[in-house]
Amino acid sequence: MTAQTYTAKDYKTDVASDWCPGCGDFGILRSVQRALAELHLPPHEVAIISGIGCSGKTPHYIGTYGLHTLHGRVLTVATGVKLANHKLTVLALGGDGDAYGIGAGYFVNAGRRNLNLTYIVFDNEVYGLTKGQASPTLDKGMRTKSMPDEAIVEGINPIALALSTGYTFIARGYALDVKHLVGLITRAIQHPGSALVDVLQTCPTYNNLHTRDWYAGKDRSGGQPRLYHLEDTGYDPLVHNPDDPDEVVAKKVQALARSYEGGDHIPIGIFYQLETTTLEEQLARRRPSLQTLAQVEMDVYDRDVSPLFEQLL
C-alpha cells in the first residue's frame, strides 16, 4: 500500500444532512472527518458503524464504509465487523440513549473485551430522534423543555461506567470544541484497545439546559466557560506500568474522582489510558494465522473435513 495522504474532504459524501440547524452533531462529524484525515486512513479501510438516533445518521455523511444499524446494537455489529476483519479501522458511534440505555449491556460487555475499536458517544442528554425525552445521561432533577416532569433517576456517569467495565482509553470531549475533539478522536483511534470518547453535544432543539451558551458560561457572572481541559491541569491519565496492578487501580481511582466533577467546572480530555493486550492479540495467540491475515482474507473455502469424519468412525 503506497502511503497516500488525505484531507478532511476525502471523508465527505454528497448526502445532505437532515440534522437541525446548529446541532452539535455537525461538530462531531467534522471532528471525525478531520481525525481520519490526520491519521491518513484510506477511506475504504475504515468502517463506521452507528446506532439509531439523530446521531445514527452520521455514517451517511462520511465517505468511508458505513453501516447504520439498530438502536442499541452498534457495539455488537462493530465487534462482528472487527472480529471478521481486524485490519479495518472500526469506529462505532451513536447516541447516549443508544449507548447507556438500551445498549448498556453491550457497552459493559464490550468494555471487557478490549477489542481495538473506538466508540464515540453523542451525549446530548436527550433522545433526539424521538423528540426529546430524557436520555440516561440527564441528571436527576433536570427537566428539559420537552419533559413533563423532572428526571427522578440518577444520570449515568459514562466515564465511571467505562472505568468499571474495562475500557482502556476513556475520554470526554465537547462537540463544539472541534480542535480538542479531533485530538481525542485521533488518539482514541490510535489507542490499541477499546476506546470511549463521550462527547458532550448540544441539541438546540430539545436540550435547552446545556446549550452552547451554557457551556460557554455566558450566564455566569464572570462569563468563564464551564469546560476546562484536563491536560491543562497536569492531569496524567496514562498507566505507565501496565503490569503494576497498584498503578492501574490508582489511575482508575483518580479518574473516577475526576469524573464526578461537574457543575461549573467540567473536565474534558483523557481520563484514563492503559496499554495492554488487545482481544485481537489474544485471539492471534490462539489462532496464529490471525497474526498475518484477517479472518475474511483466509481461504477457508476448500477445507478438508475428512479428519472430522475420521473422528466419528
Partner: protein, 615 residues
C-alpha cells in the same frame, strides 16, 4: 423383531456417567458395521435427576428408537420403577418396557427383591458394582476404594452389557481407550480393566445370559456415527464459515463447542457473546465484513434475534446462517426436551415483511447438506437463512455412510468487482437488477464504499422514504426470494419417500422422519403408504406440495407440536387441508412404534387429531 438387532437402555441420575457408557457402546456398534440410533432423555438439571439413554443397534436400517427394551441397565431404583409417590417427578420407570425374557442389569447394592420386579420372565443380573470397580482398579495396578471411583459404574455396566449381548469386548475397550484424552488420559487403562473385569464376571456368573445378541459385521462398511449438532458444525466448516458467535443454550451449545475446539485447525473465529442479541448482530457484522457467518441457538435465543434478522434482511447482508435447535416451549418450557414448536416463529421472527430462507432437515445427514447449502443461499440471495433442527435430531446419534462431499461447491454469489463494476461514487450497492441481486462489496475493498442502513434506502444505501423507490426496493428484495424458489432444487425442498402413489400419504417435517421411515414397512403391510417430507419452509414449494397432496388419497400429518404448524402452513400456502394430524407435544420424540400405533389409530378412528404420549 429383526434378528441381530437390539434395543438397549441405561438409566440413572444425571451426572452418573451413563452418557459416556451409552456413547461408547453406540460407537462400538457403529464400528462393527451395525446400524445404530441412540438418544438421551434428561431433565434440566446438572446432577441427580433421572435420565436415560437408549441405544438401538443391529442389522438393517435403523433411523429411530423403539419403546421396547431388550436389555435394561439400572443404576438406581428409579430407572426400574420410577417415582410413583412423588407428585413432582411422577413417572413409572422403564421396567415395563423390557420385552419378555429381556435382561436387567442393576446394582446388587440396590437390594431389589425379585418380587419387586413384579414379573417372572426377566433375566436379572444384579452386579456388585463397587467390588467390580475395585477389582478392575487392582488389575490396573491401582489400589482404591470403589466409592472413590463411583463414576466407573458406567464402565462396569458397559463391560457387563458387552458380555450379555455377546458383542466384541476388544472393540469396546479400544474405544474406551480412545475416549480418555488430555487431562483424563491416565484413566484410560483403569477403565479398560474395569470393563474387562465386569465382562468376565458376567460371563462367569451368568453363563446363560440373554437371548438377544449383537454381532459385528465381518467386513464393516466405512460408516460414521453422527448427531445433528456435529453434522451442522461440519457442514459449516465445509462451507467455509469464518465466524460463529453464540450464547450458551441447550441444546444448541454443543454445536458451538464443537467448532470452538477446532477453531485453530480450521481457521474459524468462534466467539461467546453476552446474549443472543449480541450473537445475531455480531454475526450480521461479520457477514457484512465479508465472512461467511453463523450463529446457533434455540427458541428463547431466537426470541431475541428477530430484530437482527430483519436488519440483515433489509441490508441484504449475505447471511448469517442461524441454526435453530427447537426445544420444548413455550418460554423456558422444557429446556432439555424436544419439540417442533418454532416453525411459525421462524417464518415470521420479527416485525415487517422481509426475506429469509427457512430449511428444516430431517436428520443428521440432511443437517450437514442443508447447513452447507445454507451458506450458498445466504451469499447468492443476500439474506439470512434459518436451519431449523430440534433437540432430538441435534442430540441423537445415528450411523451414516461417510459423507460424500465431492458434489459440494461453494458459490459466493454476486460480488463487486472493481475491475468490471462501476465503483467509487458510482457504486450502487443496492442497484436495481432483474434478479434482485446486486453485487456486494466488503469493507476494505477499494471502490466499493457505500453507506448501508436499516431504514428503507435508495440504490446507494442512503435513507429514502420516497414512494417509487420504496416500491422498487420491496420488489427488488422480493425478486431474490422468487429466484431462490426457482433455483433451489426440488430435492432440497421436499422428498416423497415410498411409492409415488399410495393409499395413505404421511406428511411431516424434521425429526419424525426417522421414525416414520422405520415404521413404513409395517404400516405398508395393510395398505400402500408414502411419506411427503417437507424440507424448505420458505420459500415454500407451493406447487409440488399442492400437487402431491391433491393427488393423495388420504393424508395424515405428523408433527411434534400441539397445533400442527406444518399443517397450517400447508393450508396457508396451498389451500389444501390435511384432514388428520398426529401430534406429540410432551417433549418426547416419536418412536417407530409411536408412528405405527398412531397412524393405525388415525386410520381406524378418522379423528382429526390424534395426540400421542407414553407415560
Amino acid at each position: 423383531m429383526v434378528a441381530n438387532q437390539v434395543s438397549w437402555m441405561v438409566g440413572g441420575p444425571q451426572g452418573s456417567g451413563i452418557n459416556a457408557a451409552a456413547e461408547i457402546l453406540a460407537k462400538a456398534c457403529s464400528r462393527g458395521g451395525l446400524a445404530v440410533f441412540s438418544n438421551i432423555e434428561y431433565h434440566s438439571n446438572i446432577i441427580g435427576k433421572h435420565s436415560f439413554y437408549r441405544v438401538r443397534a443391529g442389522d438393517g436400517e435403523i433411523r429411530s428408537h423403539v419403546d421396547e427394551v431388550h436389555l435394561l441397565v439400572a443404576l438406581d431404583k428409579e430407572t426400574l420403577l420410577g417415582k410413583k409417590a412423588d407428585p413432582q417427578v411422577h413417572h413409572i420407570g422403564h421396567l415395563h418396557q423390557v420385552v419378555p425374557q429381556g435382561g436387567v442389569i442393576y446394582d446388587a447394592a440396590l437390594d431389589m427383591g425379585t418380587e419387586e420386579f413384579g414379573r417372572g420372565d426377566l433375566r436379572l443380573f444384579p452386579l456388585p458394582f463397587l467390588d467390580l470397580i475395585e477389582a478392575g482398579l487392582r488389575a490396573g495396578g491401582k489400589e482404591g476404594s470403589g466409592t472413590q471411583y463411583q463414576i466407573m459404574k458406567n464402565t462396569v455396566l458397559l463391560g457387563a452389557t458387552v458380555a450379555l449381548l455377546d458383542y466384541d469386548l476388544g472393540m469396546v475397550t479400544t474405544i474406551i481407550g480412545e475416549s480418555f484424552t488430555g487431562r483424563k488420559a491416565h484413566l484410560a487403562h483403569l477403565n479398560v480393566e474395569v470393563a474387562r473385569v465386569a465382562y468376565a464376571y458376567v460371563k462367569e456368573h451368568f453363563p446363560a445370559g440373554i437371548d438377544f445378541h449383537l454381532r459385528a459385521k465381518a467386513d464393516p462398511p466405512k460408516q460414521i456415527l453422527i448427531r445433528g449438532v456435529v453434522a451442522a458444525a461440519i457442514g459449516k466448516l465445509k462451507a467455509g464459515c469464518g465466524f460463529q458467535s453464540y450464547y450458551p443454550i441447550t441444546p444448541a451449545t454443543d454445536e458451538s463447542f464443537y467448532l470452538e475446539a477446532r477453531q485453530a485447525d480450521y481457521d474459524i473465529t468462534v466467539f461467546q457473546c453476552e446474549d443472543e442479541i449480541s450473537s445475531i448482530n455480531m454475526a450480521v457484522g461479520a457477514a457484512y465484513a465479508g465472512a461467511r457467518s453463523a450463529t446457533s441457538t434455540s427458541g428463547p435465543g431466537l426470541a431475541l434475534m428477530g430484530e437482527g434478522l430483519g436488519f440483515a434482511s433489509i441490508t441484504e447482508t449475505a447471511g448469517p446462517v442461524v441454526c435453530l435447535y427447537q426445544r420444548g416451549g413455550p418460554s423456558t418450557g422444557l429446556p432439555t426436551r424436544t419439540e417442533q414448536g418454532d416453525l411459525h416463529f421462524a417464518l415470521h421472527p420479527a416485525h415487517g415483511e422481509f426475506e429469509h430462507i427457512v430449511v428444516a432437515p430431517g436428520d443428521a445427514v440432511e443437517c450437514f447438506y442443508a447447513t452447507f447449502e445454507a451458506f450458498n443461499w445466504a451469499d447468492r440471495y443476500q439474506m439470512p437463512v434459518i436451519v431449523l433442527q430440534d433437540k432430538f435430531v441435534a442430540n441423537s446419534y445415528r450411523t451414516a455412510p461417510w459423507f460424500d462431499t465431492s458434489g459440494l461447491t461453494i458459490d459466493r454469489g454476486a460480488r463487486f468487482d472493481p475491475q468490471t463494476d462501476a465503483g467509487g461514487e458510482a457504486y450502487r450497492r443496492y442497484r436495481f437488477t432483474a434478479s434482485g441481486v446486486s453485487p456486494r462489496s466488503r469493507p476494505g475493498q477499494p471502490g466499493g464504499m457505500y453507506r448501508g442502513t436499516s431504514d428503507e434506502h435508495d440504490p446507494f444505501g442512503h435513507i429514502h422514504e420516497g414512494i417509487e423507490n420504496r416500491m422498487s426496493m420491496v420488489h427488488k428484495r422480493r425478486r431474490k426470494l422468487a429466484l431462490a424458489a426457482q433455483e433451489i432444487p426440488d430435492e432440497m425442498k421436499f422428498q416423497l419417500h415410498g411409492p409415488p402413489v399410495a393409499d395413505v400419504t404421511l406428511v411431516s417435517w424434521g425429526s419424525p422422519k426417522g421414525a416414520i421411515l422405520d415404521a413404513m414397512a409395517e404400516l405398508s403391510r395393510h395398505r400402500s403408504v408414502n411419506f411427503l417430507q417437507v424440507r424448505l419452509m420458505r420459500p415454500f414449494p407451493v406447487d409440488a406440495v399442492a400437487r402431491i397432496l391433491r393427488e393423495a388419497k388420504r393424508s395424515i400429518a405428523i408433527e411434534g407440536n400441539f397445533s400442527g404448524q406444518l399443517t397450517n402452513l400447508i393450508r396457508e400456502q396451498t389451500g389444501v387441508t390435511v384432514p388428520q394430524r398426529i401430534v406429540r407435544f410432551d417433549g418426547r420424540p416419536f418412536s417407530q412404534g409411536d408412528i405405527v400405533e398412531s397412524v393405525e389409530k388415525a386410520l381406524a378412528t378418522g379423528d382429526p387429531v390424534v395426540e400421542l404420549s407414553h407415560i
